[in-house]
Amino acid sequence: MPFEVQCDATPAGIRRVLSSIRTQLSERTLGGAETITIAELVLAEILNNISEHAYSNTDCGTINVMADDLVWAWQFHVFDQGMAIPEAVQLPTEAATPEASRLPESGFGLIIINTLADNLEYKRSNGTNHLSFVITKVPAPTPH
């Protein structure tokens, strides 16, 4: 069964909505703890980016998340009314080898999103950003 939730684009709002999504995913999934962990992490990165970047010039943005329960995956849609993602933002394929003298403290979010989410798509229309992606269901370990 699909579900839909909304939150304020603030650290506390995001923490609350992630907890509610986790609950809803657990109720709809037998086993699959790993799938839920991965979905929560990818959603956390996407929602944080919206709050920090798309809504960087305002205190009061709203984010909507829709989740569709496919047989093999969860399909997510995330909507916000913040600034568009600039074309210059490109998905890094993987993390660079860190150099001890200049360790990065940021820039990990897109790497996490890109590695864990599939079919990532971005559209913008009428001032709304729409990001969609799927998280493949990891089969629960079979008892034997």
């Binding site: 650290p11 506390a12 995001i14 923490r15 962990t37 929560e40 992490l41 956390a44 990165e45 944080n48 709050s51 920090e52 993987e94 993390a95 660079a96 080898t97 860190p98 001890a100 360790l103 990065p104 403290e105 940021s106 990990f108 979010g109 790497i111 996490i112 590695t115 864990l116």
Partner: protein
């Protein structure tokens, strides 16, 4: 951000008493780490057994904590859950920290 400080023969153990180091907790974590390690001279071990979730901001805060350690001190990690470990390895930060599966009981002679 609650951080418990225990001095052990293996070094100073800092145990994070929260389940999440996320965007909301990142700055408080950095501030607590700075306060807890500022007079430190040896090795500090960050015990993450209670932490079930970190995101990229939490990871960034742990890297920042490493960078703000007083000169000559080390910051190592212990007891990462599989979700936490995954974030470190996706960002390749698992090569930057010494990571212990369990809390080291004493400082091993061969290190």
């Amino acid at each position: 951000m609650r951080l418990t400080r225990t001095t052990t023969p293996a070094g100073l153990v800092l145990r994070v008493e929260e389940a999440r180091i996320d965007a909301m907790a990142a700055i408080a974590f950095k501030d607590a780490m700075r306060a807890a390690t500022q007079d430190e001279t040896g090795r500090a071990i960050l015990d993450l057994s209670e932490v079930t979730f970190i995101d990229s901001s939490g990871l960034g805060a742990i890297v920042a904590a490493l960078k703000q350690m007083p000169d000559g001190t080390a910051l190592e990690l212990a007891c990462l859950s599989s979700a936490v470990e995954k974030v470190f390895s996706l960002a390749r930060m698992d090569t930057v920290f010494k990571i212990h599966k369990q809390l080291p009981v004493t400082y091993p002679a061969d290190v």
